[in-house]
């Protein structure tokens, strides 16, 4: 959906770019806020038999704003031996990877930022940029806990990048395209969402994004009972907040990618996927499906204890990768036979 549709004029290039940046920020921050509020604060509280935020605003609705205010007021501390530039830049690198992921997410037949032919490939590629940010944070903090956490994170993210990509390959084979909109359209043509034929791929995808997000049971890099909070230990104030946004925004975006790949993206059954109306209700449908997957992610997060580093690597290399290769082979055979 270009701006020209709304304004019936052709705006200059810079206006369009700025508008897209503005919409992009909103597109990342709103779902993030919803996720943090709904899941981190409320769903987890209810599962853990507590109330969660109740005081800030009606039913604790403004808690998130209160947290923002709190973090903004705090002192921006640099450890005395820190590599100042690396330390300061690390949270932005993590955030950049998240924002770039949003670029290729389609939310309607014409509602998207960029319609890349290699959309899912691009998404998988930019998602691994966050590793660099985490390594920078671990190294730049000049703290032993941070260093251990950063190195654990790097090892883990690289290991789980593979099952993540391989689990997506099954979907790509079925859809016959790397374009995200093409994948959504293929699901509409196929009749059922890809979660049914690609159920194994969906499970591997869920486990892999859980690890990519470094959430329990894969939160070894931030294991608070051993490493305090790993690579986040030395961060405070606004930089911590950026990491925090990055973590939940990435959770939101990965859930949305999962919804696009396996749950049919913006489409709803028995409604024409390319109808004009889908441009407006498509984002809402996508958000609903995103919340569904995020629910699973956060449910695992608070139920399971964490893996040890070696067990986690063993799970990735000896179990998930062979399993996803098997999934690819089976999918390919079915694709050729039928």
């Amino acid at each position: 959906m270009t701006l020209a549709h709304f304004l019936a004029v052709n705006p200059p290039y810079w206006v369009e770019t700025l508008t897209k940046i503005g919409i992009g920020l909103v597109a990342v921050l709103l779902p993030t806020g919803a996720l943090v509020y709904l899941f981190l604060f409320k769903m987890m509280s209810f599962m853990q038999s507590r109330l969660g935020p109740m005081e800030a605003g009606p039913y604790g609705q403004l808690q998130l704003l209160a947290e923002f205010g709190k973090f903004l007021q705090k002192e921006d501390i640099f450890p005395s031996k820190a590599d100042r530039f690396v330390f300061a830049a690390a949270p932005f690198v993590v955030l950049v990877s998240t924002f770039m992921l949003v670029l290729v997410l389609p939310a309607g037949p014409d509602t998207h930022f960029i319609d890349l032919n290699t959309g899912i490939y691009f998404a998988m590629a930019v998602s691994s940029i966050s590793v660099i940010g985490i390594l920078m944070a671990g190294w730049g903090s000049a703290s032993k806990y941070s260093l251990l956490g950063g190195i654990r994170a790097a090892g883990q993210l690289i290991a789980y990048e593979l099952p993540l990509v391989l689990s997506v390959v099954g979907v790509v084979i079925m859809a016959g395209t790397l374009n995200m909109k093409g994948i959504v359209a293929a699901q509409a043509d196929f009749g059922v969402w890809f979660i049914i034929p690609q159920f194994l791929g969906f499970l591997i995808f869920l486990v892999a994004i859980q690890a990519e997000l470094t959430q329990p049971p894969f939160d070894m890099p931030v294991a608070e009972s051993e490493l305090v909070t790993g690579y986040l230990t030395e961060y405070s104030g606004i930089r911590f907040l950026l990491f925090f946004i990055g973590e939940f925004a990435t959770a939101a975006v990965f859930s949305a990618i999962g919804a696009t790949l396996f749950l049919g993206g913006w489409t709803i059954p028995f409604v024409d996927a390319n109808a004009e109306i889908m441009d407006y209700i498509g984002p809402l449908v996508l958000a609903g499906k995103m919340i569904l997957i995020a629910f699973l992610i956060f449910w695992f997060r608070i139920t399971y204890p964490r893996f040890r580093e070696d067990q986690l690597q063993r799970l990735a290399w000896k179990f998930l990768i062979p399993l996803s290769l098997f999934n690819i082979v089976v999918t390919a055979i079915f694709k050729v036979v039928f």
Binding site: S49, P216, S225, T303, Y304, P305, R308
Partner: protein, 396 residues
């Protein structure tokens, strides 16, 4: 540009940099040099829940050696008891193991009663034993949740805090204190049970058993929990006894030793029908499992005690001003954390002459250098959590 064959000019930084780079390459080519790292865990660290400090020498993520350094919270209770009268001492020693405090008072009171040759009446003994076991339940419930937190599963601790309230409320309604009851007197207990307490306690014991079932599902049955705990921090029976371990840590190594059954005690354990749980493995998982079974067993013990509660007075005849005759006595009981004993020396005055407190956590921690050698950093948290210490019990 400089000619590399020319004489070395120490003011030429480019030349020096070139030489340094060559030297670095040579070093890497000979062998990949690695050096160890010393990680200082604590005194302010979440895994130590308190102020324990562990200096670990690491090679990568493997621990080469670990040394616990205790004493950051030493409060000098042994010395302080010397300037308190006997009834005042219980207020102090409540604070040793602060989550199961009732059990701390009992061995001291028993030691003083032994010196005075007084025995509390049977009803008082039953009330004491019931509250002792409830202190054990309150203490170990916290462990059951905390161990999962140390392994990353945060939810269990909230359930533990929620369900522990049922027990703490019952303790509070008898003694007036949730954590520090200060309820024992030499020769009996302070008050009788309030009306309706027995019925309420029985229903809260049922809730504790429900909690145990929940933990069995949520924690023990969890495959990740099992893979993190099984075979981690194995203590063979002979090592356990030679390091002076006690309590569930010892029983998890397969040593069938429980002071409640094996020691002569005026408390009511001998009248009950119960079982000492042991586990042959000696790893972190078995320590968790034994404690879980003990909690469940303790709820049945409390119910039996309340069913068989004798009638009669709750205080023996003791003088208004307590002067303990000269002598020495040592009484040890099976406390939530393990064997706890008080060696009391009296010179016939209002205050003890000297009190030596044997706490279980101090002895249990002494095995940690042996146990932590060669494990990985994540297992430090598992092992420390499974040994279950309370900082106040280490540094009294």
């Amino acid at each position: 540009m400089t000619d590399m064959t020319a004489d070395l000019d120490i003011n030429n930084s480019e030349q020096l940099r070139y030489i340094a780079a060559q030297a670095a390459d040579a070093r890497v080519n000979v062998e990949l040099e690695t050096e160890g790292m010393t990680l200082n865990i604590g005194p302010q660290h979440p895994a130590t829940h308190g102020t324990l400090r562990i200096v670990a020498r690491l090679d990568g993520e493997q621990v080469i050696s670990a040394e616990p350094i205790m004493g950051y919270m030493h409060r000098g209770y042994e010395k302080l008891t010397e300037v308190r009268t006997y009834p005042q001492v219980t207020t102090l020693i409540n604070r040793i193991d602060w989550v199961g405090s009732f059990a701390n008072e009992v061995p001291f009171i028993l030691a003083a009663e032994e010196l005075m040759e007084v025995e509390a009446p049977p009803r008082a003994q039953y009330i004491r034993t019931a509250l002792f076991e409830m202190g054990r339940i309150a203490n170990i419930m916290l462990f059951l949740g905390d161990m999962a937190v140390q392994l990353g599963g945060v939810t269990a601790i909230f359930y533990a805090f929620r369900d522990r309230e049922f027990v703490l409320n019952q303790i509070e309604s008898v003694t007036g204190g949730r954590f520090h009851p200060n309820f024992n007197r030499i020769g009996g207990v302070k008050d009788d049970l309030p009306a309706g307490w027995i019925k309420e306690t029985k229903s809260s014991m049922q809730k504790v058993r429900d909690f145990c079932d929940e933990m069995e599902d949520l924690v023990v049955g969890n495959e990740i929990f099992q893979s993190r705990c099984r075979g981690v921090g194995v203590i063979p029976a002979d090592v356990a006894t030679s390091y002076g371990l006690s309590g569930a840590n010892l029983r998890a190594s397969g040593v069938d030793w429980d002071l409640r059954r094996d020691a002569e005690s005026p408390l009511a354990w001998k009248d009950l029908d119960w079982k000492v749980w042991t586990h042959p493995d000696g790893d972190s998982f078995s320590r968790y499992w034994v404690r879980l079974q003990e909690t469940r067993e303790a709820t049945y013990m409390v119910e039996q005690l309340l069913d068989g509660l004798p009638t009669g007075p709750i205080m023996a005849k003791v003088p208004r001003i307590i002067k303990v005759p000269a002598g020495e006595s040592y009484v040890q009981t099976e406390n939530p954390l393990g064997a706890m004993g008080y060696y009391v020396i009296s010179k016939g005055e209002l205050t003890p002459f000297r009190v030596k407190i044997r706490t279980a956590s101090f002895s249990n921690m002494s095995i940690s250098p042996w146990l932590l050698e060669g494990v990985y950093v994540p297992d430090i948290a598992t092992i420390l959590a499974s040994l279950y210490f309370i900082l106040g019990d280490i540094d009294r």
